[in-house]
């Protein structure tokens, strides 16, 4: 027994001694930035994705980029050196930046821009909305024409785009990641554009050199890039599906930037904010988390029930209890940070008694109103908690909202069918224009149906669609405010909740980092400065 105790003590002291060995993380090399994502990208081709923008944003350029200037997001010229708009707001004349070449040395011309627009239409998969606004777009989509009638090229650097109807937000739309410009010449030979890094050529500040599915991808600085040389010369993005592992890697010095949205909020609050307060960077995730209610549903078709739902939710408590105040209350459709946002909108006040009274007025007793709150099972832990909270608040006023989990594909199918009762979701803005959210959700009967809103007021939908064409900013803003008041205040067609903050923590090697203006997880690598 004595011998055993000795052996045990020896083993214990050896383990303790080894535990004292200091941390020695590998030196990544000068100019190298390392970060991690929870999920791999599915493609590098913007015509095939509405999510995976890291490669498009850094390997490709657009005519314009949305950048933060003096605290506000604005569309600034990128490949476009100059532009003018005709008086009727239909025709845009562009001048391309001189001397821009793609990373394979091929020069950028107006034909490449036209090719990029037509490619979106011919592929006709995702992100066709903007290209569809150009005159003659339908003919290209239907295969009746090979080229866009509304696109006229004067020479290699001068061209014009004519729209079918005026759209005041067109320039902002051109800055969306999916409006990336590709090289027509390269595309003619590329066999696996978007899948093979060698075929995925752009004019942006970085070149994608390697993509190992489910493992990592690497971008290196493009020496032919027309802009200023960035601080980061090489970016390695590892696919680490476990947020806890990312956490350990960051603490161990193996990651230079960690996206904190994958971690539990409680860990962020207790283990990050107090330890590295000066290294936390936050930005609003410009967009909206909302509760969608289906106006076609037996109970939800009654505006009093929808209003009662809005009044039953204590959104402030959800923000403080689940998000630890890393979110701001939203009362309308146009989120904070987007041109046209209305701070003065009052929205729904938390009033459970008022909610009960409205339900009673509508003729419903406790438990009469019931529906399914459909949860996409790929949702993160915070969103799941929001579902539980919503269900609990509704139960408190006598509404039975059963949280039912669906796999992503079934969830999407049900929502697209227009038959989903209600769900909590988030809409992130692709570009800084109210139409990105107003038109997408309430621009047409098809748009509201595909999101299971089934908003019935066609007159309002016509106004939302027409608002895109109002060229005068003041007039347009006033119209959007009136529409918000009608859709939310009078019709309670959806329940706005909050806008989240996106938090990152920077490692010792990073001097500064400006996140994406809309709080995407994807970011411009040029916005990172290494020490």
């Amino acid at each position: 027994m004595k011998q055993m105790k000795k052996t045990f003590a020896l083993l214990l002291s050896m383990i303790l001694a080894l535990a004292m060995v200091p941390a020695l993380a590998d030196d990544p090399g000068e100019g190298v930035l390392r970060t991690a994502v929870l999920y791999d990208i599915s493609t590098m081709d913007v015509t095939k994705t509405t999510d995976d923008y890291m490669i498009p944003m850094n390997v490709f350029d657009r005519l314009f980029e949305t950048r933060m200037i003096d605290g506000t997001s604005q569309a600034v010229g990128s490949l476009c050196a100059d532009f003018s708009v005709s008086e009727d707001g239909l025709t845009y004349n562009f001048v391309l930046r001189e001397g821009v070449v793609f990373s394979n040395g091929s020069p950028l011309t107006a034909s490449d821009v036209q090719y990029s627009f037509e490619r979106l239409l011919k592929e006709n998969r995702s992100n066709t909305d903007v290209a569809l606004e150009v005159a003659g777009a339908e003919a290209v989509v239907n295969g009746e024409s090979d080229s866009l009638a509304g696109f006229a090229i004067a020479d290699d650097t001068h061209f014009s785009i004519t729209l079918s109807v005026p759209n005041a937000g067109f320039i902002a739309e051109l800055s969306a990641p999916f409006m990336s410009i590709v090289d027509a010449e390269t595309m003619a030979e590329a066999k696996q554009f978007g899948a093979d890094p060698a075929d995925t050529i752009g004019s942006g500040p970085y070149i994608i050199t390697e993509w190992v599915s489910n493992d990592h991808y690497t971008l290196v600085y493009n020496p032919l890039y027309w802009g200023a040389e960035p601080s980061v010369k090489k970016l390695i993005v590892s696919v680490i599906p476990d947020a806890g592992t990312q956490d350990l890697m960051f603490r161990n010095g193996e990651l230079d930037i960690i996206d904190l949205q994958g971690l539990d909020s409680a860990i962020v609050e207790s283990a990050y904010k107090p330890v590295w307060p000066e290294k936390i960077v936050s930005t609003p995730k410009v967009g909206l988390t909302y509760l969608a209610v289906n106006s076609g549903n037996e109970f939800l078709s009654d505006v009093r029930v929808r209003k009662a739902i809005g009044m039953a939710l204590d959104v402030e408590s959800i923000i403080s209890g689940i998000y630890y105040d890393n979110a701001v209350r939203e009362n309308g459709i146009i989120p904070t940070g987007i041109w046209g946002h209305n701070d003065a909108l009052s929205g729904f006040e938390f009033d459970p008694d008022g909610a009960r009274a409205l339900l009673s007025q509508a003729g419903y007793k406790d438990g009469d109103v019931h529906f399914v709150l459909a949860l996409d099972n790929t949702a993160g832990s915070n969103v799941r908690l929001v579902y539980e909270a919503v269900s609990m608040y509704l139960e408190a006023v006598g509404i039975r909202a059963e949280v039912r989990s669906y796999d992503h594909s079934s969830w999407l199918d049900l929502r697209n069918s227009g038959a989903m009762d209600a769900f909590v979701a988030r809409w992130g803005m692709d570009y800084n224009d109210p139409a990105n959210i107003m038109y997408t959700f309430f621009g047409s009967p098809a748009n509201t149906a595909v999101r299971s809103l089934n908003y019935p007021d066609t007159e309002v939908m016509e106004r939302v669609s027409a608002a895109r064409a109002i060229v005068d900013d003041g007039e347009r803003e006033a119209e959007y405010r009136a529409l918000e008041q009608k859709i939310i205040g009078e019709d309670a067609a959806w329940i706005p909740m909050f806008e989240e903050l996106h938090l990152y923590c920077l490692g010792d090697r990073v001097a500064s980092f400006t996140p994406h203006w809309a709080g995407f997880s994807d970011f411009y690598i040029i916005d990172v400065v290494l020490k």
Binding site: V21, D40, S42, S213, L248, L412
Partner: protein, 309 residues
Amino acid sequence: MLNHVLRRFFQAFLVLILVALLIFLMLRVVPGNPIATMMGEHANAAAIERMTSELGLDQPIPVQFFRYILNALRGDFGTSYSMGKPVDRLIRTAFPNTLILALCAALFAWVVGIVCGTISAVRKNSVLDRLFMGFSLLGVSVPVFMAAMILQYVFAYHLHWLDISGVKSWKSFILPAVALGWNSAGSISRLVRSTLLEILQADYIDTARAKGRGQAGVLIFHAMRNAMLPVVTMMALQLSSLLSGAVITESIFAVNGIGRLAVQAIEGRDIPLLQGTALFSTALVILGNLTADLLYGVLDPRIRKEVVR
């Protein structure tokens, strides 16, 4: 014997076809439109319809199935909807990691399980027996994710002996292999111990001892050989299951393997990738069982004779 082997291979092939048919039908019965999922939120109905037609998903199911089987026999499992890459290439990339991880985990489980089980049986009720059985009990009761996180924290983050995640060198497989194999090691050691304890009481063991065989000789040539029959069955099943994907371990240690690929396919309703990974995993399980069957014959002459007869 050759006939038996060929017969088993033929049976395995039939099972594989049957499983392929089942997977194929199940994926077409479950709710959810894979094309809508693939094309994203902005895709309109016309685009979804066009893509459905392009991919041949509007064809009758028997036509789709026979086309799939014919292509699969040629090694073409289609292109992943969500990743845009050929399924066989994705499996080829992921499988080496899964294979190494499974073999390392199995090796750890077998060596540790057999050694601990044997020592425990021979030194029944000793301190070592209690220590090893405690270790086994922990192995079978601690969830894999918990074991993985503890090992990762202690040996990678705190002691810096091994990698936290990813596959950088052979050392990267040590922690995931131990996390994954611990449970199997626990099961094997408990099985080896109980089987050996029973066998060591048998008359033929006394006979062997009476004939002057030493303790090691009796243990290795008489007891162990018979004790290995159920153990081999368990080992083969464990290997099949380890090979068909260790989702949690692969996720925590960021190992790009078959398990993660399968989960990705399920989440994205990626039919070609899901069919490919499911069929591949099934083939591995069938192969594992086949190997166990054939090993029986090698280990037990009675079974061999029965087969030949």
